[in-house]
């Protein structure tokens, strides 16, 4: 089994197939951007993009991404520049503790790739599954709004 991870092809070793994608990423590939927050798909801290869709890696099995394309927060930035979503997050100082933010960013990236001008309802639908206990929600919306404006 193999998959594309942040643009590179990798094997999924046999004995990792039944692990969750989150465990595979963190413990096999040492990519720790995606976080464990609840383990049951309810907080969004583990969000990565699988075949273009924001996906909870804690409830996705490694074998289910066989042949697929996985993008994590570590793969967003270019050589010299941050991804525009990452930059907007910094410009508006969105993170407080930061623990939820990799997941927030991946949900926002997936949203903006699928909809260049998302409606308020679409933003709500895309972002409501990503919990933030620090309360950075208004800044998350402001960052998305800024990106939408910039894309026009």
């Amino acid at each position: 089994m193999s998959f594309t991870l942040n643009g590179q092809t990798h094997d999924i070793p046999d004995d990792w197939r039944e692990e969750t994608l989150l465990v595979l990423l963190r413990e096999h590939f040492n990519l720790v951007g995606a976080k464990f927050g609840c383990g049951v798909g309810l907080c969004g801290a583990c969000t990565v993009i699988v075949d273009g869709v924001a996906t909870r890696s804690c409830i996705t099995l490694a074998r289910d991404v066989d042949g697929g394309t996985v993008r994590t927060v570590e793969g967003l930035a270019g050589e010299d520049d941050l991804h525009p979503v990452q930059q907007a997050w910094l410009d508006l100082s969105v993170p407080q503790c930061g623990f939820c933010q990799a997941g927030q960013i991946m949900s926002a990236v997936a949203l903006l790739e699928n909809r260049s001008r998302p409606s308020e309802a679409e933003i709500e639908e895309a972002m409501d599954g990503n919990l933030c206990r620090c309360g950075t929600y208004p800044r998350i919306r402001a960052a998305i709004a800024r990106l939408v404006e910039a894309s026009i």
Partner: protein
């Protein structure tokens, strides 16, 4: 199966021999030491080498972005460019600093840091380039960082911001030591106040789980009275399956006190049974009927940081190193030393993925250290969300009754009673015998925090009691100040109605403190208080106001607009907050703290509730104990009022006013005065 030794073979050839528990852990709690910072200690926080400065943070970074704020102080005082100062998190090799609690980092640490930086600057200017510098304290007025210059009053890019948005390892859970394994300590699904211990388990089945490494019987001190059984695996993903296969049966003895939490703390039952022992205000209201007579209850609630507690422990010979996102590295180090008597313990503090007062005691650190010792390899322990709910300590439930008499447009008599559970003398740390002494002698100032209203209220009495419960309670954002502010500000709103006065004017009439008056007046201006929203599109709309002072130092006033549908569905549409914490070092991050407090205010009104049954926490996931979502938290306008004072705290101020502003808006929209929080949708249905 009785205590014995296990030998577990693993695919990779690791063998772990784990001895049965021989250690008896001390029953005497380690008391946290909380030294006040001074300029002398501060010299250990800043150094100069190779033409660069290095700032070792004396505080824990948990999202208040104090790393950024203190770097601003250091850069300004040193006269150094932003890029010339590196920031590191402290370990316990540094001189002891007190826990990062109580929103006091700027208040207490900014000036000592500035003093140390000023002396270092002098020494460098005098041509010194090595050795230790003595701090010569100078008058505060001579410190550059205590004025609006340099980086003060600005909002540079937050420290570690790049690392956060690119997913670099920052948190304890991201630590990966060579040969690291993953562990968990299983405990009985019971109240932590019952004596429980593992009785028997199915080791053979557990061993068949791929990735199984070991069962560890000596897995550290009990949590409360819950003794555990440790398991270790090659990957974290195997732990659930091992736990299931083990099917531990538990020996359960003892009946915890006060399993019916609601009944135990019921204010009216307690008042009927006699007085409340701890007095906060000792005025004597006149007998007779009250104009306002209001009950208000908040339940037990979980901190619910998105990062569950997590630690990595590694032994090298007799020396122990632990990585943890704790709010109190030195206390946790002391507890580890007490428990393991190691040759040396170093605790490396890591970025905390949300603290809110919840990460102060020693839990996962002890578990990880015991398991690492058991298997002879580094071990990471991360609590599951369910463990967070069942084994953590929580916001105490509180039951209030506030009575007020109004005459001639003023409150003449005030009587506020409260029953809650411990905060400072938490059952999570203090055994019953110790708590009995504190109960008899001093009560619990954490519960009392914010119980003195910021108003002149005539003959005013306030008193409380604390009860030990079957679920552990302790510090939460703002301690008692959030619920106390809610109770006081709802009652003031009712008193204004009795007086038939505008709630803003009515409050102002009772306030002497000019700083509190100022934030109230300012929030009224920015929200256009005179022009509240009205009924539209089948929505009941209303506006509410509230204010408060936190720890006598920081001020906030909040206005909330709400819209209520016929079915009772309620939305906070907008929030305005005026906030005064004296001189502002970083306006953007003070705003961020206000925003966080307002999100927590929404939580207090709509979600915060940790369900229990007979003293057992029933919540397993965020479905059972939800927190506010993105769409629950509206846009906010934050206005910083900057009185001419040294920097004060900002992390827990607006929570004294936000919840009541929302509750008062709901009252204005619907006529309903909520008495039981969180609000249930049906409460407001028509």
């Amino acid at each position: 199966m009785k205590r014995r030794t296990f030998l577990a073979g693993v695919g990779g050839g690791i063998f772990a021999l784990i001895g049965a528990g021989t250690l008896v852990y001390s029953q005497i709690p380690v008391i946290p030491k909380r030294p006040e910072p001074d300029a002398k200690t501060a010299i250990g926080w800043i150094s100069f080498n190779n033409n660069r400065f290095s700032l070792t943070l004396p505080r824990v970074e948990m999202g208040q972005n104090i790393a950024t704020g203190l770097k601003q102080i250091a850069c300004t005082e040193l006269g150094a460019d932003w890029d010339r100062v590196d920031v590191a998190f402290h370990d316990t090799g540094m001189d002891r600093v007190k826990a990062t609690v109580g929103s006091e980092s700027m208040m207490l640490f900014a000036e000592p840091l500035a003093q140390a930086c000023a002396s270092l600057r002098d020494a460098l200017e005098a041509g010194r380039d090595s050795g230790e510098i003595a701090v010569t304290p100078r008058p505060g007025s001579e410190l550059r960082a205590m004025k609006k210059c340099g980086y003060i009053g600005r909002s540079p890019e937050i420290v570690q911001g790049q690392d956060i948005v690119t997913g670099r390892p920052l948190y304890a859970g991201d630590v990966m030591r060579s040969g690291q394994l993953f562990g968990r300590v299983l405990r009985a699904p019971e109240s932590v106040e019952r004596s429980t211990r593992p009785l028997s388990w199915n080791a053979d089945d557990a061993r068949t789980v791929p990735g199984f490494v070991a069962i560890v019987e000596d897995c550290g001190p009990a949590i409360g009275k819950a003794q555990g059984l440790g398991i270790v695996a090659e990957r974290s993903g195997a732990l659930d399956a091992i736990a299931e296969a083990l099917a531990v049966s538990w020996d359960v003895t003892g009946t915890p006190e006060n399993v019916d939490i609601q009944e135990t703390i019921d204010i009216d039952a307690n008042l009927a049974a006699g007085g409340l022992p701890h007095s906060v205000l000792d005025g004597v209201p006149e007998d007779g009927k009250y104009d306002v007579d209001q009950r208000l209850d908040v339940p037990l609630a979980a901190h619910s940081p998105i990062e569950p507690r997590v630690a990595v422990a590694e032994w090298q010979g007799g020396a122990l190193t632990v990585w943890s996102g704790t709010q109190d590295a030195f206390y946790v180090r002391d507890v580890l030393l007490d428990a393991f008597g190691a040759d040396g313990v170093t605790l490396q503090s890591m970025r905390v993925g949300g603290g809110f007062g919840g990460k102060v005691s020693a839990t996962v650190e002890l578990e990880a250290a015991a398991l690492a010792r058991g298997v002879g390899a580094p071990v990471k322990v991360q609590w599951t969300r369910a463990q967070e709910f069942t084994l953590g300590y929580h916001r105490p439930p509180a039951s209030h009754r506030v009575r007020a008499r109004v005459f001639d447009g003023k409150v003449t008599d005030w009587d506020h009673g409260q029953v809650s559970s411990h905060i400072f003398f938490t059952s999570a740390v203090a055994p019953k015998w110790m708590q009995r002494a504190t109960d008899a002698l001093i009560g619990d100032d954490g519960v009392a925090r914010g119980m003195v209203p910021p108003y002149a209220l005539g003959r005013a009495r306030a008193a409380y009691d604390v009860k030990r419960l079957a679920v552990h309670t302790a510090a939460w954002r703002g301690l008692g100040a959030g619920p106390n502010g809610l109770a006081i500000e709802c009652a003031m709103d009712e008193a204004a109605r009795v007086a038939n006065e505008d709630p803003l004017e009515f409050r102002l009439k009772h306030i002497d403190d000019r700083l509190l008056r100022a934030v109230l007046q300012r929030v009224a201006e920015i929200s256009d208080w005179e022009h509240p929203p009205c009924y539209e599109d089948g929505l009941r709309k209303g506006r509410g106001i509230a204010c408060g002072i936190y720890k006598g130092t920081s001020y906030a006033a909040v206005v909330a607009d709400v819209a209520v549908e016929d079915n009772g569905a309620t939305k906070v549409e907008k929030l305005w907050c005026a906030h005064d914490c004296g001189m502002v070092v970083n306006p953007d991050q003070v705003r961020a703290q206000c925003e966080g407090n307002l999100a927590w205010s929404i939580g207090m009104i709509f979600t915060d509730n940790l369900p229990t049954d007979k003293g057992v926490v029933m919540a397993q996931t965020f479905i059972d104990a939800p927190i506010p979502r993105n769409s629950d938290v509206p846009d906010m306008v934050i206005e910083l009022v900057e009185s001419a004072r040294a920097p004060q705290g900002a992390g827990e101020t607006a929570i004294v006013a936000g919840p009541a502003a929302i509750a008062n808006a709901i009252r204005a929209a619907t006529g309903v005065r909520i008495e039981q929080f969180p609000l249930k949708q049906g409460d407001l249905a028509v």
